[in-house]
């Protein structure tokens, strides 16, 4: 016997894949972590650039719409051991997505850890919570030979 239900107030429909029974899910949970970025950064040239390769002005965000994330986890595999610095900038936007002010807030900087062909992990921010809307993540090879930096950034709610 087919199972039928009242659809659109006055239509009796059979339950099927095309016409599923309306349900209210009571025990669902949001996904606690999202992959925000996977990028390969060319560090053969020197000079500061973000993970997507942008340099100079305008200082575009590397990541946008991140306000829901408490932490960002930056996983990276670096193919070379050359001295490299990193700088993590953040800012907040209004409801239209426009930054509240000019420039950026520096929330972390330092020497990029790890040697050649090594896996590494950085938490952004290192302590406390984030909840910034936009991030600009800069790297700069300051010596040695060029290499590729392969990154993955996960946002954690």
């Amino acid at each position: 016997m087919p199972v039928r239900f009242l659809k659109n107030a006055s239509e009796l429909a059979d339950v099927s894949w095309e016409s599923p029974l309306p349900v209210a899910v009571t025990n669902a949970k949001p996904v606690p972590a999202d992959t925000l970025l996977i990028a390969t950064t060319n560090l053969f040239p020197t000079g500061e650039r973000d993970l997507l390769g942008s340099t100079g002005a305008p200082e575009l965000p590397t990541l946008d719409a991140c306000g829901q994330y408490r932490k960002l986890i930056w996983f990276y595999f670096r193919e070379g051991a050359a001295d490299t610095t990193y700088t993590i900038l953040a800012r907040v936007t209004d409801h239209n997505g426009a930054p509240l002010g000019a420039g950026w807030l520096t929330i972390a900087s330092g020497t990029l850890p790890g040697g050649a062909n090594s896996w590494n992990r950085l938490e952004i921010p290192d302590t406390g919570d984030a909840y910034y809307d936009q991030y600009r993540i800069l790297v700069n090879r300051t010596g040695g030979s060029g290499y590729y930096l392969i990154s993955k950034i996960v946002g954690v709610r």
């Binding site: 009796l12 429909a13 599923p20 669902a28 896996w119 993955k152 996960v154």
Partner: protein
Amino acid sequence: MSAERITRREMLKRLVIAPVGAAVLTTLEVREASAAALQRYYAPYFVAVLWEGRTRCDSLWRSLKGDVVAILPTVQGATPYDRLYWTGYALGNAPVNVDMRVLARAVDHNGVPLGSGWREIGQATIQTPPMRWFRVEIPEGHWDEYRLEVRSATPRLVYSRLIGSQGYWRE
């Protein structure tokens, strides 16, 4: 699929004449596509069993699954988990002396690792009297794949469970 237009009175008549049985209801098809949007708060603590089983330890570094193939992960899809907990019980009458190490790596959207090899999160030796429980907390979370390896100079059976916890926001 079929549909027909009926009055509310006719619908009530049909329901009274042919009630839907509970056994039928259990097989109904439902969709959960919008489930996340329906609940905007987090459950206080959520854990999932990522692996459970028996490992035959010997002098080789073996995954908990038993393989010695270094490129294979023990668990995949671990991105949501902030911490992993490995709890087990080693059989045998001799004192337990099992080496273990935890490796991790990240993958791209196609599931391909970003680079070669693994990051070694940590290495330890589990030393307990015979027939005791042990527990290891793996703090470095949100890696996509983990490989948990064990070895023991004295062959030994270890029953264990690896769980992932999404408790990040409770810190």
